[in-house]
Subunit: 290 residues, 2 copies
């Protein structure tokens, strides 16, 4: 299938690579062209100098960029993909963005006879590299049925969860749950250290019970070791929580702890922890500069 991939960040670069390895005819675009050239060498694919050019003739166009503004530019901008896509093709957005822009793009796409899916992912950089992402999708069934086998190249699970925006809203639920969970875990590790316990042994026991979580299993040791270089960065988490809190203001959901943890992440940023992973809430509790 002829596809385009717009945005070769830590997620997009390997995702586009998996598409190429799966035998698709891939053309990429990246704001910094050097990265598109590197990708093109790594995976023997084509690159374009504008999103519109990359999208020309593609059956499916994928986007995976930073935020709503970036997404608006690479889709609706003068050189955006909508200026290259043709009727019957599909736009799949993997950016974690607002539900509002998902609905907006779905509507603009529909006017042009183009399908649209909002399809944020979870699983992080490792999930993208190993091709085992989870994809939360909003949109129509027909577009989903066409895009699903293609997304399969980098996914372990792909689920249609409702209309346009539902993928983004589901990703928000994911980030809300992580915020409270990671702060609870950080307080647990902090308390264990202050109490003079052998924290590694304690978590080795409690991770199998009612306090257990993916974060506890995968992060307790790195947290004990004061290492925060294992995944999703605080700057990105704040971007996501901003989207969450905006949406909650609209739908009336009360998110007291999510809102506070967002402020805690602001403290981590002020401590210089912008690129630390989300478990650096512990660093904040322990007031160490990083």
């Amino acid at each position: 299938m002829k596809v385009a991939f717009i945005g070769l960040g830590v997620m997009g670069y390997p995702m586009a690579g998996h598409l190429s390895k799966a035998g698709h005819d891939v053309t990429v675009f990246n704001r910094t062209t050097a990265k598109a050239e590197a990708w093109s060498e790594d995976y023997k694919g084509a690159f374009a100098v504008t999103p519109a050019e990359a999208a020309k003739g593609a059956d499916i166009v994928f986007t995976c960029v930073g935020n709503d503004d970036d997404l608006r530019e690479v889709t609706c901008g003068d050189q955006g993909v909508f200026n290259g896509m043709t009727e019957g093709s599909i736009l799949v957005d993997h950016t974690t963005a607002s539900a509002e822009i998902a609905r907006e793009l779905a509507s603009l796409a529909a006017d042009k006879g183009i399908g649209f899916l909002d399809a944020p992912v979870s699983g992080g950089q490792a999930g993208a590299e190993n091709g085992v992402l989870s994809v939360m999708v909003g949109g129509d069934q027909a577009s989903f049925d066409k895009a699903e086998p293609v997304m399969d190249a980098y996914s372990k699970s792909i689920r249609l969860l409702g209309e346009a925006g539902a993928g983004q809203l589901a990703k928000m639920v994911n980030q809300i749950c992580i915020a409270g969970l990671v702060q609870g875990l950080a307080e647990g590790v902090h308390f264990a250290k202050r109490a003079g316990l052998d924290a590694a042994q304690v978590f080795d026991v409690i991770q199998h019970g009612a306090a257990g979580s993916w974060q506890m299993v995968n992060r307790h040791q790195t947290m004990i070791d004061d290492e925060y270089d294992f995944g999703f960065a605080v700057d990105w988490m704040r971007k996501d929580l901003n989207i969450v809190l905006d949406e909650a203001r609209k739908n009336g959901a009360r998110l007291p702890i999510t809102a506070i943890v967002d402020q805690f992440y602001a403290d981590v940023q002020e401590m210089g922890g912008n690129r630390c992973d989300t478990s650096s809430l512990l660093m904040r509790l322990e007031k160490r500069e990083k």
Copy 2:
């Protein structure tokens, strides 16, 4: 082995039963004698009318009562187990209590030539009934080595984590992690409903990723269904969090979210949710009376 079990609550009743079924010679005591009589019929064991009498001649005495005050009474009171136990025997306390009383009892026991282990459990009523509790133990290796094979009757994992008090401190870490985690999960479910998502489907997807937890796997559906009758009650959680926050005041740990979630549980109590399970933080967010 000749053992005594003091306290036949929802945990102690089946735990003492497992000891009896494992072939131990069990004598029980319970404040309400009717329950001891019922236990005695169910499991063909003996019952006594004071803790001291139950403890007489026992190799190991187990206690599993409500709080520090109850524990002090059944151990150091006029009719407490210390007035029945003999040198060389071991006291194992399964109550979730303070680390301070654990150290106090360890010291009193040592003066009498009695071993002491603080051994709070996790796994809840179902874990006690099915004999698959996790036991977090503080104390000396010699007492642990003697008591471990006996506790095996109702446990799937038993771990010595340090000196007297270490079991209680480890249980506190467990409860701290649960507090933040469950509030995060409650906010996630609440948001999903407000956003008009099919919440069951969303959690079915995200539970396998970085937001996943035992609580999410086992409670999301009951929370969606607004059912809060599945385990550990809010009144008990507040008791535990009170112990946690007391200890944190002593060791200087900063537990901002744990402290707030404790207040949220106070709201749930005020709504009449004393006997609801800990996931009723969702009920509070949704402001329904129960």
